[in-house]
Symmetry: C2
């Protein structure tokens, strides 16, 4: 397994994270537990909502992106967690059966002044259905340095 | 059921959302599916991580807050969804067995210019373990107006 360190996260580098298909049963089960708004759990309520259809909880969508990011990047990297993000957007609804394509782009990278051996990387998450952007987020990842 | 409309979300108003206890099994099952980093799924990896213990995925923590918010506010309100947020932070790790207390504060409220009958409310989410803030987020909610 290639181990990605702070030095590999150079600004502008894009990681393609692959695709995932939204499973209706899992989408609804997630919403029932974490986000039981009618348009996320009930077909009829979805149809009469502003989404026009039963729509995924945005937190489920974020989770789908996260899983691809963990598989393709974090679990191949010297990852030290994340303090959070500064942007989290759902510009279009996500529906059961959607095939979503994930990517991650490095925006900024700097070494920690207070903690040697640790670098802070600002990352941009994106999830597309075809050419429709359905989720994006900008957040910080902490990675161990190679030296 | 009291129906909360845009007009009820006045800047400064705080909604206490109650408490939840972190269930170890659910915390780990969530991480296995959405965020399988070693320190979220494996006791030993958690102990040797910067968290010092098996720690919850931040997305699970966000989901716990969301559920309380849905139960106490959204499903009693004329909610029209959310376009997203501008801040999402996990300043301290969350562990199995933690009792977390949730609140929501209204920061700003304005009527939509383009869509009459809809108001945009900027909200601040907070989740505490005792006096330790473990999660906070600032995001926008869309609500129907009363008139």
């Amino acid at each position: 397994m290639t181990v990605l360190a702070f030095e590999d996260f150079t600004p502008g580098r894009v990681f393609e994270l692959g695709t995932t298909v939204v499973d209706r049963e899992e989408m609804v089960a997630f919403a029932r537990r974490f986000d039981p708004q009618p348009f996320h759990v009930d077909e009829e309520a979805g149809r009469s909502s502003i989404f026009g259809k039963l729509a995924a909880s945005g937190w489920f969508t974020a989770g789908l992106w996260m899983r691809l990011y963990v598989d393709e990047v974090l679990n191949k990297a010297a990852s030290l967690g994340s303090p959070g993000g500064e942007e989290l957007k759902w510009p279009a609804p996500v529906f059961a059966g959607d095939e979503l394509q994930a990517s991650m782009e490095v925006r900024e990278a700097r070494r920690s002044r207070s903690r040697p051996g640790l670098g802070l990387v600002k990352l941009r998450a994106r999830l597309y259905r075809g050419d429709v952007l359905v989720y994006h987020s900008t957040f910080t990842g902490m990675f161990g340095t190679r030296e």
